[in-house]
Every structure is written in structure tokens, then in C-alpha cells.
Symmetry: C2
Subunit: 282 residues, 2 copies
């Protein structure tokens, strides 16, 4: 039959499309990918609307048990649910490729993801450059290859969407060494943490790609009733309160004045916004 890869959108169980809901109700087994993004509701809410039990699929399961996920999918329908759009993360590619090897048709059902929903902050989607990922720094590991990408984007005036790190089902080094399957509580990077790391990297690299006064926009829980959007200088965003996860960040490039008019409505301080925003009048 079919492997449906169904985008769930951004917020809750009702962000699935009518087409996606009809598809999931034809499936004998339903998996939810739960390690690259999260919804704001527990899986029981999904199960109630979809009228199906939902199995949480962690990274280990998707990467090492693809054949179990695809079991009998030549005879029955299987659904693999993905927060956002099915093509937002690379991690599902292996599953899709494996299905193709087994001659199981794969039908994706699209949905909103942060990659397009970020348009709600007022910065137009066609003015974004490459998207970057910011991961949690540790004492010994401070990956900063994103700095060069921000540099490239800003050199030509483009905005930069920053996806912020998610740590789900991580083991401590001690537990990993001892082979104990004990997991740390999930961690979701906040806009505040991301902005601190960005300021930190600029202080190390000193290439003047951005400053503490560069305008950025933080977003939290996009698509939820309590969605929060706050614009300000990087320094202002260090202390802005965005509430719970998920958070995203956009470093603004040059803004068309219509973009600036919208973003300003979210500014911590319209005066500092006007002082530091790079606004084009055409």
C-alpha cells in the first residue's frame, strides 16, 4: 500500500490538513517523529483526533528500525507524522529511500513549517538567505560555522533564519559510558541563549559581521494562540521574555520600509529600532 509522510504543521493536533487527517485514518500504524521538533500538545490529543494510537519514534528508532516502521507497508498503510513539513529535516530521508528500495509508494502531505511561517514576523520570505542552525555550546565544543553563513547573508543584505537547538532523549556522558539508558530532561534553546552565543562568537571572531546593536526578531510558539514575536537589538533580546519553547530567531538584513513598518510593531523599543535598523526606502 502506502507510506504517508504527513506534515503536522506547527502548533497542535488541529494543524494537520483535512487531506492528512483522512490519510492517517486509513493507516494501521502511526509513528510520530519527535526529535527534530515538537508540538505544544501531548500525543494523546493527536490520538483522540486521529482515532489511532500514535507511537513516538525517537532518532534511534527511525535510524535503526526503518524496516520495522515499514513492516507490511506493501499490504497496509503506514503513517509517519512530522512536525512542520515532511521535507523540513534531512533525518527522514533514509526512511523514504528505504521505502523506495522496498517499492513502497511514498506520499508526502505538505504543511506549514517554520521555514515559511516565519514570514509572520514581517520580514519577507524572499529576502532571506541561507538558514543556519545554532547548537548549544559546551565547555569543549563551540561550533561556529554558522558565523560564515551569516556573514555571507549580511554581505548582500539578506535576513538569516536561525533554527535553535533541541536536545531530546540525550544521555549524560557518565550514563552513556556506563551503558545506562537514563536520559536527561529535554532542552530547547531560547532566543536569549542563542543571542548570547551569537554575541560571544562575534567577540571571538571579531570580523564585524554583526554587533550588539544589530536588529533581530525572536519568535516563540509560532501558530499558537500565545505566539510571541519580539524585535530589538541583539542586546535587547538577551533579556526579553519569550516564554516556553519552541523559539526561533531572525537576524535582520536590509529592510524594505514596508518590512520595517511591520517589524517595528513588535519592537521592544521603537526608538532603538529606528536607530539601528537598516531601512531601504525603495
Amino acid at each position: 500500500m502506502v507510506l504517508y509522510v504527513i506534515g503536522l504543521g506547527l502548533a497542535d493536533e488541529k494543524d494537520i490538513t483535512v487531506k492528512g487527517l483522512e490519510a492517517v485514518k486509513t493507516c494501521e500504524r502511526v509513528y510520530l517523529e519527535a526529535y527534530t521538533s515538537i508540538l505544544t500538545v501531548p500525543k494523546e490529543r493527536l490520538e483522540a483526533l486521529y482515532e489511532r494510537p500514535v507511537v513516538i519514534a525517537d532518532r534511534e528508532m527511525v535510524e535503526s528500525e526503518a524496516d520495522e516502521i515499514l513492516r507490511d507497508a506493501d499490504k497496509i498503510n503506514v503513517a509517519f507524522l512530522v512536525v512542520g513539513d515532511p521535507f523540513g529535516a534531512t533525518t527522514h530521508t533514509d526512511l523514504v529511500m528505504r521505502a523506495k528500495e522496498l517499492s513502497i509508494p511514498v506520499i508526502p502531505i505538505h504543511n506549514a513549517s517554520i521555514m515559511n511561517a516565519v514570514g509572520c514576523c514581517g520580514l519577507q520570505l524572499y529576502n532571506y538567505g541561507q538558514t543556519i542552525s545554532i547548537v548549544f555550546f559546551t565547555d569543549s565544543w563551540r561550533p561556529d560555522s554558522f558565523y560564515d553563513k551569516i556573514k555571507q547573508n549580511r554581505a548582500i543584505g539578506l535576513h538569516t533564519l536561525c533554527l535553535l537547538d533541541i536536545k531530546v532523549k540525550e544521555q549524560s556522558i557518565e550514563n552513556m559510558a556506563r551503558g545506562r539508558k537514563i536520559y536527561e530532561p529535554p532542552r530547547y534553546m531560547t532566543v536569549n541563549q542563542a543571542v548570547e552565543q551569537l554575541i560571544d562568537i562575534e567577540e571571538t571572531r571579531q570580523e564585524g559581521v554583526y554587533t550588539k546593536d544589530t536588529i533581530a526578531v525572536g519568535l516563540a510558539r509560532v501558530g499558537c494562540p500565545d505566539q510571541t514575536i519580539i524585535a530589538g537589538t541583539l542586546e535587547e533580546l538577551v533579556t526579553a521574555d519569550f516564554g516556553g519553547p519552541l523559539h526561533s530567531l531572525v537576524i535582520a538584513g536590509h529592510m524594505h520600509f514596508l518590512e520595517a513598518d511591520l517589524v517595528r510593531t513588535y519592537a521592544v523599543n521603537p526608538e532603538t529600532f529606528n536607530r539601528h535598523a537598516v531601512i531601504l526606502d525603495h
Copy 2:
């Protein structure tokens, strides 16, 4: 009450989200923006599922009759339906700003748009640069400012999503001059036309931004059962058959080998693909 701005997704009436469907059913008046994109089904299909009459809103109506669209929206709910995601096009900004002036709450409901669904071609979304629009050339008007943007993207190895022109409810110069409200049949730019114009502009500008051998991916009717994806050199795509609208095009930048593995499955000719693709092995 509320102005809902509801994304419809890409293909047909069932691409609306469950949340969007519930919202539209609370609305006394429902408008469909029908000039920046189209679905593949007539409005009657929408009306049947949404159980509401749907008024087609053309550009003139949205731009000059915002107050009529918003009439009584302090007392009733009004829905403004948008193909794709609500924030995909700038043209609705005026309506949203007008609603805010009138203190009418605006609730957007997100959905897939070509800006994120294009990930289905195998080129990863985070490797795209700025998006460009290619409009129909006329004898006297050949706008090519997109050429510089492609140049900027390609200089740093990024892919370029090209949105292709749509002409709906256009008047001929003669009819316009005579004040006759007679409209030309709608026109949708094909991948073939876009690629011809791109080759044409390179021949004029001669800055070597791309060649006839540059690899690109054409997409048609993304999200529909008859979705078509074809990869090849620009020259190969001049004659590839994509069928009916809507079409989009991606000019490939540097490809990670995993991206190339996926895109190659859509290639007109895997041999020319391998010869001309720029593939990174890390």
C-alpha cells in the same frame, strides 16, 4: 469579531488545515484571493467542503475595497483565503494593516507554500538563497534585476527558487485604452518559458552567472497527485513537458552528495546531470 487569514496550501480544497476548516465555518463572509496563486480545483469544490459561498477577490477588489471586505468584522467573522501560506505574498499586507487600524483582530492560519514545499525536489531548504520572481518579457519590457540576485546566490553556492509569473484578469492595451472591462485569458509561465528567458538574459548580460549546462529543477503542481519534478540542464528543461500550471523552478547551487542523490532520481539524463552538477562530498 475576527478576520481570519487562512492559508489553503497548494493543491485542492482538502489542503486546508482542520483548524482552518473550523474557522472558515464560523465566518459569515468568505473571500478567496485569486491573483497571486491558484488551486487546481474550481471554487465550487471549496464551497462544498467549507459549506460557505466563496467570493473571488481579484487584485482590484483587495486593493480598493478593503473596507467592504472588512465590513461588520467587528460583529461577525470574515475569512480571507490565500493559496499557500498567509504570509507568502505582500499584497495582503494592506488588508491586514487596515484591519488593525479598525481594531479588528487578525488571526492567521498557516499552511504549506511553495517556499517550503519546494523541499520535495531534494535540494535542502537551508541551502537556498534569496527567492526571485521571473515575469513575462514583452517586446518593450524585459526586467532582469533577478539576474544580480542569482549571481549573489551562486557566488556562495546557494540554490535559487524562481517564482514564475501569473497573469490573471489582465487587459490588453487596446481594451485598457478604451476603458473596456474585457480581460485576457489567464497566463501562467511555464518552466520552459522561464528557462528560455534565463538563457536569453545570460546572452545579453554575459557575466557568466550560469550557462545552458547549469543544473536546474522544474516543478509543476506540487502537492497534487500528478505533481511533476524534472531535473536537468537549463537547455534540457527548455523542451521538458511539465503539463499544466503552476510551475516553479530551482537553479541548483552546490549540492551536498545526499541532495544530488535525490535530485538525480528526477534527472532527464543522469549522465548529463553527473557531468554538470556541482557536488560536494562533505
